[in-house]
């Protein structure tokens, strides 16, 4: 199968869905001619025009409100917040409006929109351009949260997210944009709420999200050389969360390491760990559930510090070994 990048897969999903459905449009800062800060929507303005690929002023709350209002009366906006750090400015519109309108109105309205936003560090952009806030959004009823790790997944999940009738926070990762993988040319959807076992194994389960999935796979290869057979599970969507796949894996391996980039305290690892503990897998646990996550510090600028802020392949390898002793 043809290989394309994660960024190209997103662009292809956007293009196909915009061609298929007139109600889909893009809105965000510099999404038009500039193509977005990471070039993801590059070229779409030429195909679909500036009405459907709409550049906005720097007004994140306005963008989120515009998307929400448009969704309320029949459009399917795909909004972009240029860095996940700036969802902080759009929180009221996202959390109080988009997420809650349906419930508050007794189920009589719907808000089908996608908020695409790149998270994560590793680009030397420091504390205001490197954050990962997915944990905030799983705490908000009414939102769905998707966090794809491969070109294949990002296309299928984005198409599913746009077609979903609810507000979806779609978390991309800057370092994944240039990663390549096989992606079918035709449209396909991956249902929200279905995890994927990226590598089967029997000795230990590694639950990893986003950029941590390729790192976990690399770690698993290194571990394999030492005779440790790790299973890597990618939840893909954090809300709804496919507890079953994770629990099944843990019941098989008896040990689990959860890996994410966001700060450890209050991160999604805590929720995933709790779900495992509350499941039938509890009795199968041979070791405490372990979390490996970002340090509880803002992302530093210095390249070496930045790298140490976030789990790397070697940290995953070491954490798995700690778990097995």
């Amino acid at each position: 199968m043809r290989e394309i990048t994660y960024a190209e897969a997103i662009r292809e999903a956007l293009r196909q869905e915009m061609a298929r459905d007139d109600s889909v449009f893009l809105i965000g800062e510099d999404v038009g001619t500039y193509g977005g800060a990471f070039g993801v929507s590059y070229g779409l303005i030429d195909e679909f025009g500036e009405e459907r690929v709409r550049d906005t002023p720097i007004s994140e709350a306005g963008i989120m409100g515009a998307a929400t209002g448009a969704a309320l009366i029949g459009m399917r906006p795909v909004a972009e917040i240029m860095f996940m750090d700036f969802t902080t400015i759009a929180m009221d519109q996202l959390v109080n409006q988009a997420a809650k309108l349906r419930f508050m109105f007794g189920g009589k309205a719907k808000v089908p929109l996608v908020l695409r936003t790149p998270a994560g560090s590793g680009t030397g952009a420091a504390a205001h351009h490197s954050q990962s806030f997915e944990a905030w959004f799983i705490h908000v009823p009414g939102l769905k949260v998707v966090m794809p790790s491969t070109p294949y997944d990002v296309k299928g999940l984005l198409l599913a997210s746009i077609r979903d009738d609810n507000p979806v926070v779609f978390v991309e990762h800057k370092l994944l944009y240039k990663t390549r993988g096989p992606v079918p040319e035709e449209e396909y959807t991956i249902p929200l709420g279905v995890a994927d076992v990226k590598r089967p194994g029997k000795d230990v389960t590694i639950v990893a999200t986003s950029i941590m999935v390729p790192r976990a796979l690399e770690a698993a290869e290194a571990l394999a050389e030492e005779g440790i057979d790790a299973e890597v599970v990618d939840p893909r969507t954090l809300k709804p969360f496919d507890g079953e796949t994770v629990v099944t894996s843990v019941m098989k391996t008896g040990k689990v390491l959860i890996v994410h980039e966001a700060c450890k305290t209050g991160g999604v690892g805590a929720e995933i760990a709790s779900r495992i503990m509350e499941s039938e897998a509890f009795d199968y646990l041979e070791a405490p559930i372990t979390r490996l996550a970002g340090l509880d510090i803002p992302v530093p600028y210095n390249r070496t510090l930045e790298r140490h802020r976030v789990p790397q392949v070697e940290n995953i390898v070491a954490a798995v070994k700690d778990l097995l002793v």
Binding site: F25, E51, R52, T56, P57, S59, A61, G62, M64, G65, A66, A67, T68, G69, A70, A71, L72, I73, G74, M75, P77, D92, Q93, N96, Q97, L101, R102, F103, M104, F105, G106, G107, K108, A109, K110, V111, P112, P141, G142, K144, D165, N166
Partner: protein, 319 residues
């Protein structure tokens, strides 16, 4: 303006309904029959009715925490509204929303809002959608003077302006955001001056004069419908009651309140209609009674309505 009889009867009737609705719910609250809080717009009826009367039924509105008037003026079924107010399953929002979140989606009232300024950007989206879909409808977005100092106001008005969206923004300037007077919260005389920052027309009217509001709103609506973009319409008015149920009203004087009672919008309109012989006193009395009856029936309906079933509690979060 030449006073069209049908329109005037309609406006008078709505103003009465709003007044009676709010007096009724105020009483319910005083008697401990509802919980929570509420924001009454008694004294402000003309701004809701005058502006919304300039709309077509298929136009949209976005309302505020002080939204009963907008809801009634937009043609809500007051039974369902009262049921919502009382948290009943038959209410517009199945009892989930209450006073601060009543929405009548079919009637194209996209809801009250508990967040001050929260609805202003939503109106941008509705306007954008209408424009992209090539539709003929427009949207009217309400907010208060207090909300005009929220960042959302600024971002939204600018977006509506640069994209020439079919939006009419109505600021109901009742002189206070809770206890904060406009005198203290603004260094300018008229909030509508801010329209100039966005390159849109700004108009200030006597918000207690329903005819003046209607005329200014009609112009703004026409402009929006013609594709000429948004307008900021400021209605100067006053709320008679406390901000909400927790208000001791230490920040204003009795005199001030009394002076505004002299500008009472319903009586003013009524006198105009009678002097101009648009309707007779007798007709007026009938309109008033009819309005009173409507509210009475709504109250009965709401009271007789069932509470939501507890086992439906998880419904409606996701589509």
């Amino acid at each position: 303006m030449e006073l069209q009889r049908d329109l005037c009867v309609d406006m008078l009737s709505q103003m009465y309904k709003i007044r009676f609705f709010e007096q009724t719910v105020d009483d319910l609250f005083a008697r401990g029959l509802v919980h929570g809080t509420m924001h009454l717009s008694i004294g402000q009826e003309a701004s809701a009715v005058g502006s919304i009367s300039a709309l077509r039924v298929e136009d949209y509105i976005l309302s505020t925490h002080r939204g009963h008037g907008h809801c009634i003026a937009k043609g809500a079924d007051i039974k369902l509204m009262m049921a919502e107010f009382m948290g009943k399953e038959t209410g517009y929002c199945r009892g989930r929303g209450g006073s601060m979140h009543i929405a009548d989606i079919e009637g194209r009232n996209l809801g009250a809002n508990g967040v001050v300024g929260g609805g202003i950007p939503l109106a941008v989206g509705v306007g954008l959608s209408l424009k992209m879909q090539g539709r003929d409808e427009i949207v009217m977005g309400f907010f208060g003077d207090g909300a005009a100092n929220q960042g959302s106001f600024h971002e939204a008005l600018n977006m509506a302006a640069i994209w020439s969206l079919p939006v009419v923004y109505v600021c109901e300037n009742n002189q206070y955001g809770m206890s904060m007077s406009t005198r203290r919260a603004f260094k300018i005389e008229k909030m509508a001056q801010r329209a100039a920052s966005y390159g849109m027309p700004g108009v200030t009217v006597d918000g207690n004069d329903v005819v003046e509001v209607y005329e200014a709103a009609s112009e703004a609506v026409e402009r929006a419908r013609a594709g000429e973009g948004p307008t900021l319409l400021e209605c100067i008015t006053y709320r008679w009651k406390g901000h909400s149920k927790s208000d001791q009203e230490l920040y204003r004087t009795k005199d001030e309140i009394e002076s505004w009672k002299n500008k009472e919008p319903i009586r003013r309109f009524l006198e105009l209609l009678i002097t101009q012989r648009v309707i007779s006193e007798d007709e007026a009395r009938k309109i008033e009674e009819e309005a009173r009856r409507t509210i009475g029936e709504a109250l009965e309906y709401a009271r007789a309505s069932p509470e939501p079933e507890v086992d439906t509690i998880l419904e409606g979060v996701y589509a």
